[in-house]
Subunit: 216 residues, 4 copies
Amino acid sequence: MPEQDSILEGLFQEEERLTEKQKKIIMAAIESFSEKGYAATSTSEIAKKAGVAEGTIFRHYKTKKDLLMGIVSPMMAKLIAPFVIKDLYKVINHKYEHFEDFLRAMMENRIAFLKNNMPLIRILIQEIPFHPELKEQFKEHIAIKVFERFVNLAEYYQKKGQIIDIPAYSVVRMTFTSIFGFLIARYLILPEADWDDEKEIELTIQFIMHGLSAKD
Amino acid sequence: MPEQDSILEGLFQEEERLTEKQKKIIMAAIESFSEKGYAATSTSEIAKKAGVAEGTIFRHYKTKKDLLMGIVSPMMAKLIAPFVIKDLYKVINHKYEHFEDFLRAMMENRIAFLKNNMPLIRILIQEIPFHPELKEQFKEHIAIKVFERFVNLAEYYQKKGQIIDIPAYSVVRMTFTSIFGFLIARYLILPEADWDDEKEIELTIQFIMHGLSAKD
Amino acid sequence: MPEQDSILEGLFQEEERLTEKQKKIIMAAIESFSEKGYAATSTSEIAKKAGVAEGTIFRHYKTKKDLLMGIVSPMMAKLIAPFVIKDLYKVINHKYEHFEDFLRAMMENRIAFLKNNMPLIRILIQEIPFHPELKEQFKEHIAIKVFERFVNLAEYYQKKGQIIDIPAYSVVRMTFTSIFGFLIARYLILPEADWDDEKEIELTIQFIMHGLSAKD
Amino acid sequence: MPEQDSILEGLFQEEERLTEKQKKIIMAAIESFSEKGYAATSTSEIAKKAGVAEGTIFRHYKTKKDLLMGIVSPMMAKLIAPFVIKDLYKVINHKYEHFEDFLRAMMENRIAFLKNNMPLIRILIQEIPFHPELKEQFKEHIAIKVFERFVNLAEYYQKKGQIIDIPAYSVVRMTFTSIFGFLIARYLILPEADWDDEKEIELTIQFIMHGLSAKD
DNA sequence: TATGAATGAGATTTCATTCAT
DNA sequence: AATGAATGAAATCTCATTCAT
């Protein structure tokens, strides 16, 4: 499924006008921002890593912050939302009759997404607290659009009698929480531990299913 | 319950040798680090906010990084672990016969803790990714000591037949995830939304209880 | 004789990539280091004297110490040794049949060298005691290479029966001592006294010749 | 012979009002100044080494420079001159009939002096170029008083026909040069090499004697 | 488009000195 | 006399940004 492609490659394909050097700059910036954080990364460091003169960075991005935004914004704007929407259509088109199937599909999809875009996601997570614009964008794209659609989805499965009858946004919160809790523990906090992914995913799904099951 | 006291006050009481100025420096640093992040906060800014000469900071902390560690280390070393241990003793002393009661007590306790120490916790969460020493300390104090004790606890309730029979560390992970997922959504991501705390807590507890319940 | 050229000019010619500003920085640094010593010279002072922004210094030299080394190292590495070697070849090619002629030539040569490079030599003499790396370099370049060659030379004149038969390194030590003793007194300790250079040089040569003469 | 006692001990005995702490400060300062130079030594470093509070240094010495002078001045003023004068009287009282005996006695005396006061002498040599006041004191005490007396002495041995008839100050310069050249090579430049002191001293004396001998 | 030298504002750090206790 | 916290000026160094080539 090409939809799990890396954001970066997608970005490079879409924007064909990008120079070789520009791509290198972006890749170097992602690497450094991800490892040390935006504020602790110097442009000279990025230039060195990209094999480019310092001035070259500023040909393409007026400021260092521009560079950050140039990396993070398209990610949120063009790439996260569409992904989710595609998934949603599948569900809405009755591809996933049961909430459990949807859960399983979503977890697989998100894990693939995470694996292919770890550095970018790190940056997003790490920098959001410090940049109000990012927080704003995040709220707009994720919290509103994505969350809203998932709430609809939850209501859909509630109506089908598969999920307990509590406020739909609480359903979404607890589902998200369990899935991302696993992903964060798995890929960010303890990536070096040896995980039995299959089993943990299954346990997590069962946990959510039991937690939200209507038959009680 | 004095055990929910703020870390900061605890720190100031324990270390009696702290000057008035030193306390001001710490408070100013916490405020700024929390808001803008360590790397984006200048020592001159901290000095100004603390009403102190810049040199004074460096009398007490050899480097800026020392200041960060001076704030974060005692938090992890002296204050998180003990808190948890106290709770554990209560449980072990049969104060909480049912897992559900323990969950409820722990959530209340952690919420109080979070409320009293938000800026400090923000710093911890935000800076851990960028400082290997912090990551190390975190793993040592939290991941090892705390996690281990909770695993024992999970096994205790499993033996009593209150929790489903899956690996105990998965139980702990999913419980943590659900609780901290709520806390993070509530206090870090959407603190300005209006939450019905009582209800959300109850929902979360029910979610976990159903998710892990043995009677199935 | 172009071999008595100034070290500085040699440096500037060899390293063609040096910017105009870089040269000014070097010149300013030499002047200040020579007058007040490395430790007592501030980089802002050097920048001002060089008509350059302070940051410019650190573009070219990572640290202040680097600047010192950038000035002193090439002096020892590239310029002292060659000088001496040239002189030695002359002697070995029988240009100087008599030790006395060699002495006279060497004193003239060294005096010219000193006159053209006083500030640099001051720096070298003044800073060596405080910088182990410099001491090491000095030993390597001067004490080993140069001294060794002079010992050979002494043995050469001893075999010709012109010099008394004592350990060759003692011959070299006493010769050096007498020559540099004069140079130091003349140019460093009492440069403002009025010296009859011709006469003093002649007296010094006679002193050495008598002191080391084999005919006794 | 108690006259070769260490300057430091002499200083501590003479000035009885010196506190224990003061002595420690002086000793610490001498050690640091000698190793790293005055400008590169911080007062806090001295305080730490002396086991004293920073403020204590400034109780006794108004400024850091005062401390340097407090160490170096008495050395020149009270201790070098007297030494020399005593020696001179001995000579004038016909204790040393021959220049050679005088030379030998002087070298022994100076070697003992050097050994007992190395750090102090290092400071003197290293700091003189950077402090005009020191240079002035040095000229006054050494160059004028001492040098002058030695010139008289040289003339004395010239009249006795033991020394060649050249300007007396040249005699003194060359003698000094040869002796201090040895001492500097021996104790400052290559202290770790293994020297046959007896032999080198004898060679040096012979060198000077031949170099200045009147019988030619 | 790309370079990289240069900048200057500002960040971190040092340090001699003062002063209340 | 002694302390050591506090200072603030200055030192070293960093870094985003500009600009001539």
